[in-house]
């Protein structure tokens, strides 16, 4: 297991509902917990992943997410079991939407 921590500047997220959980820690999947953070203009992310050595990939995927979404003021915790970048991106968008009360 590898633990990774990142912090990205991001536009402040709109009004938050309750903390949101998305996904399951199953093979090729991950769970994402979004809760309020301290800095309104930044998104702090902590990842525990079963796949070692993918720090750069995580940085690229999460950086692109933080740049394209208003995710500021959030603390995102991730438990990962080998999800692909595409799955990570989809789940992040889903978790953020639920956090902002826009769950489908």
């Amino acid at each position: 297991m590898e633990t990774l921590e990142f912090r990205f500047d991001s536009k402040p997220a709109s009004h938050a509902a309750d903390p949101a959980l998305c996904g399951v820690v199953g093979s090729g999947n991950l769970e994402i917990l979004v809760k309020p953070g301290i800095e309104p203009g930044a998104c702090a992310i902590c990842i525990k992943t079963s796949a070692r050595g993918f720090g750069e990939t995580w940085q690229a995927v999460l950086g692109s997410f933080a740049a394209s979404h208003a995710a500021g003021g959030t603390l995102i915790a991730i438990n990962d079991m080998g999800a692909t970048p595409a799955v990570v991106t989809l789940r992040l968008a889903q978790a953020l939407a639920e956090y902002q009360g826009g769950a489908q």
Partner: protein
């Protein structure tokens, strides 16, 4: 797309949280120890494995057709729904609370291979505590209904727990047994049981077989709404009996009769023939309604 199929929400494919969302009355779900408040397993962390915030089980209270109920839902996709220390403690806490607060029922959404071997003794102790708690809750007059229809079925210690519940509601996809197919093959050899033969596995442990044998109160379609309707329907006609030695003796006798009648058989097909089914080979292809009417027409 066929309308009746697109309107269905598969229980088998849903996560534990999606099952609860469709099972309970809308808006009534209230989780106890939600992911923010719960903590991942320290044992898995020590083995360098990522945990899950809720440790693979969701416990909550809510309503079913306006009746107050407690619910416990195992997540089969996380470590095969296996029971670890925190996972087990959440289940036991919920059952004990039910014995005190007496909701109309506890719905136990089982999807588990049994003990989480990574947690060894802590997992084994958790299973035994769950067994005791199920019996205590029932003795307090609160029915505990097992709902089995997930990919992991109910195996190992959780197979025993399922049979300790007041009743089991199962789908064709659901499975129920003690030792899992791979375990039997590993211990006794492929001649004893071929775990790769999926059709055989379902003929021996699957929902249809369990329903025909009388192990399960209801067989329902693989549909969250069908499980909901089944649970509500069962509870409407059920009064939890007080445990008595006479009830235990009756149950023991019927198990002995069953062992004597079917103990030597190797396949569900033989058992179904012995039950009086004219064409056992047709059973796997019957739909739910056809199978229920077949069972109702069997000699008792």
């Amino acid at each position: 797309m066929i309308a009746s199929l697109s309107a269905r929400h598969s229980w088998f494919e849903a996560t534990a949280r999606a099952r609860l969302a469709g099972l309970l009355d809308p808006g009534s779900f209230a989780e106890i120890l939600p992911p923010v408040a719960s903590q991942p397993s320290p044992h898995l962390a020590r083995l360098d494995l990522p945990g899950a915030f809720d440790d693979g089980v969701v416990v909550c209270h809510g309503e079913l057709e306006k009746m107050p109920i407690f619910a416990i839902a195992q997540e089969g996709q996380f470590m095969g729904g296996a029971v670890g220390e925190i996972h087990g403690a959440k289940i036991v806490g919920m059952l004990r609370r039910a014995a005190q607060e007496k909701p109309a029922a506890v719905l136990f959404l089982i999807d588990s291979g049994g003990v989480r071997l990574h947690e060894a003794n802590a997992g084994l102790i958790a299973i035994s505590e769950i067994m005791r708690a199920v019996l205590d809750t029932r003795a307090a007059g609160v029915p505990v209904i097992a709902l089995v229809g997930g990919s992991c079925g109910a195996f190992g210690g959780m197979g025993i727990v399922a049979k300790l519940c007041s009743a089991i509601i199962i789908s064709e996809e659901g499975r129920l047994a003690l030792s899992g197919p791979e375990v039997i093959e590993t211990v006794a050899g492929v001649e004893e049981f071929d775990s790769k033969d999926r059709a055989l596995v379902w003929r021996v442990t699957g929902g249809k077989h369990r329903y025909l044998m009388g192990d399960c109160a209801q067989l329902v379609d693989d549909d969250i709404a069908a499980f909901r309707a089944g649970a509500a329907d069962f509870l409407a006609g059920w009064q939890e009996p007080a445990p008595t030695p006479a009830l235990l003796r009756t149950a023991q006798q019927s198990l002995e009769n069953r062992l004597a009648a079917y103990g030597e058989m190797r396949d569900g097909l033989e058992v179904w023939a012995a039950l009086g089914i004219a064409d056992p080979s047709a059973v796997p292809l019957l739909d739910r309604d056809e199978l229920v009417s077949l069972k109702e027409g069997l000699p008792t």
